[in-house]
């Protein structure tokens, strides 16, 4: 694997008798966009908080941009982060809120207007934070995370509350940053979004890392699905019976047959249908989406 922006080895956080994260080991390559997924309570936010020096680990080690998380002051000036939704002072305007953080971090105040424009808040920058919609608050949070012109950007659910165009904008921002070499570590519940932008994935379940690696590697390791649709629906049950007799695992879903099999088998299925006198209107090999893989691996229900 390439040089790591984040590297965790056996990272553990225990609260009382419960392990929020247990022996988590993973790497996020420098310059990549890495998705961080897992059901609620799987330990994502705890991990992010440890990486940002907000909570101390109960065991294990981790480095961020080559520095140990025991010394967050060495790497945080190069890290932008939005954790668990945007938190700002309600009585201050969006602009003033960003200025507080710019002053605190020693960043030029000129960055504030630049970033407000970038997240489409230039016109409302003077309004109090408490008057913002959820989407605007989220965009301000992203602007705050971008203040240091970060080498590593950590975003926890950045698209929460955003409308489709807002989600698209965030995706654009993340891609633009990745193009300039910024590493982005992003957690999201919208797995289709992550599938579109993430080359790498870290997946958690019940405080354990169950996958860490390339997204493609994860998806290609999953069983494909062959979806066959007879021309006439009356043939559906007959074809299903024939395929079952041949040893295939079949499910009938909305007028189609879902067959768990390798993609090479699609020709055999087509032939079997033809020999039974059934014409197929369509036959497709579908790789499982990240969402389907996620549910499969985490045992979560849709």
């Amino acid at each position: 694997m390439e040089k790591a922006a984040i590297s965790a080895t056996d990272l553990t956080k225990i609260y009382g008798s419960r392990a929020a994260l247990s022996h988590g080991s993973f790497e996020v390559p420098m310059g990549s966009i890495c998705g961080f997924v897992g059901p609620n309570g799987s330990g994502k936010t705890t991990t992010i908080r440890m990486l940002l020096g907000l909570i101390s680990p109960s065991g294990g080690t981790a480095t961020v941009l080559g520095e140990s998380i025991a010394h967050p002051e060495k790497y945080l000036p190069k890290v932008g982060a939005m954790i668990e939704g945007p938190a700002f002072y309600p009585g201050l305007s969006g602009r003033e809120n960003l200025k507080v953080l710019a002053e605190l971090g020693g960043f030029p105040l000129s960055r504030v207007n630049e970033l407000l424009t970038k997240v489409d808040l230039a016109e409302r920058g003077g309004s109090k934070f408490k008057t913002y919609s959820l989407g605007m608050k989220q965009r301000l949070g992203i602007a705050a995370a971008l203040l240091p012109n970060p080498e590593l950007l950590i975003l926890d659910e950045p698209t929460n509350g955003l409308d489709p165009s807002g989600i698209q904008e965030v995706r654009g921002i993340i891609r633009d940053l990745a193009d300039t070499g910024t590493t982005v570590f992003v957690s999201s519940h919208i797995l289709s979004e992550l599938e579109m932008i993430c080359e790498y994935l870290v997946m958690l379940r019940e405080g354990k890392v169950i996958f860490s690696g390339r997204t493609q590697e994860l998806l290609s390791g999953q069983k494909p699905l062959i979806i066959a649709k007879p021309e006439y629906e009356v043939d559906l049950a007959f074809l299903a019976e024939k395929l079952k007799d041949a040893g295939f695992k079949i499910k009938i879903v909305e007028g189609t047959l879902h067959i768990d099999a390798a993609k090479e088998v699609s020709a055999t299925i087509n032939r079997m249908a033809f020999e039974a006198g059934i014409t197929l209107a369509s036959i497709n090999v579908v790789l499982p989406t990240l969402e389907e893989t996620f549910f499969e691996m985490t045992g979560e229900n849709k």
């Binding site: 908080r49 940002l52 020096g53 002051e73 938190a87 003033e96 507080v100 971090g105």
Partner: protein, 263 residues
């Protein structure tokens, strides 16, 4: 740390807090100073705890600062509320995590906050002092108080000492509020506990067991504000106050440094 101070001052000068503080401090100062001069002939008294201060007494150099001295304790309570609220809000709003990501040194955050609030308290005390003096001059004629001695060096010396004492007292109250904010992590709880303790519980405790008065924090902060002599000497109050603040502050600082920021 200077960066923390500058950032904190931006929060402190937001209109709702600044104007609210000016209105509260201005109102209290005007009320207490006016009572001294407008109720000069009142049977119920015009001084602290029903004490009667005559026009002759007010004509002395100390007459210049009498109203200001009366409002001193209340400035301390205002300071306690501001320090407690500004500290606890970082937890209740969840903004502490933003601060710590931008400034990972927790001790710098704490020290910077305290310095910024100290400056805010100083401005508040100076404003109250200036307003009290202006009101005293404005009402002196009506109360038939001769103001000749108010311009003397003795009066200036008293004014300086009184301002310093009130400032030290507001810092003690403020630090007490900040400690409560750090320990309780809730604005409402920190302010409620601080105000209840200082204005009610200590008075009840003092009335029940008189000997405790010398050792309670609020009484000693109050004694500093009035320059000593309420129930104990200035030096005693300074030592007791510092003792409370060093122990409480040390405990709160250790907790702040070590505690996980999980909200």
């Amino acid at each position: 740390m200077i960066r923390v101070v500058i950032a904190e001052l931006r929060k402190l000068r937001r209109p709702s807090l600044l104007l609210g503080t000016i209105a509260t401090v201005g109102g209290l100062t005007a009320l207490f100073t006016s009572i001294v001069f407008l109720m000069i002939d009142s049977e119920s008294g015009n001084g602290e705890r029903g004490e009667r201060i005559s026009a002759n007494e007010l004509s002395n150099p100390a007459g210049l600062i009498y109203g200001f001295e009366l409002v001193g304790v209340f400035l301390g309570i205002v300071s306690l509320c501001i320090f407690a609220s500004q500290t606890a809000q970082e937890y209740s709003l969840g903004t502490l995590r933003n601060l710590l990501v931008r400034q990972p040194s927790r001790m710098k955050i704490l020290a910077g906050k305290f310095v910024a609030m100290k400056l805010f308290a100083l401005v508040m005390v100076l404003f109250a002092g200036a307003l009290s003096i202006a009101i005293s001059y404005a009402l002196a004629g009506r109360a038939k108080v001769d103001t000749t001695s108010w311009g003397t060096s003795a009066a200036m010396q008293l004014l300086f000492e009184n301002t310093l004492n009130i400032f030290i007292s507001t810092l003690c109250y403020g630090a007490f509020g900040m400690i409560l904010g750090l320990l309780l992590r809730s604005r409402i709880s920190a302010i409620a506990v601080g105000v209840l303790w200082n204005l009610i519980l200590e008075n009840i405790l003092g009335a029940l067991v008189k000997s405790t008065v010398k050792w309670l924090p609020g009484f000693n902060f109050q004694n500093l504000s009035s320059g000593g002599g309420l129930n104990s000497s200035y030096k005693h109050s300074l030592a007791i106050s510092l003792g409370y603040l060093i122990i409480g502050g040390g405990l709160a600082a250790i907790l702040f440094k070590r505690r996980d920021v999980a909200n």
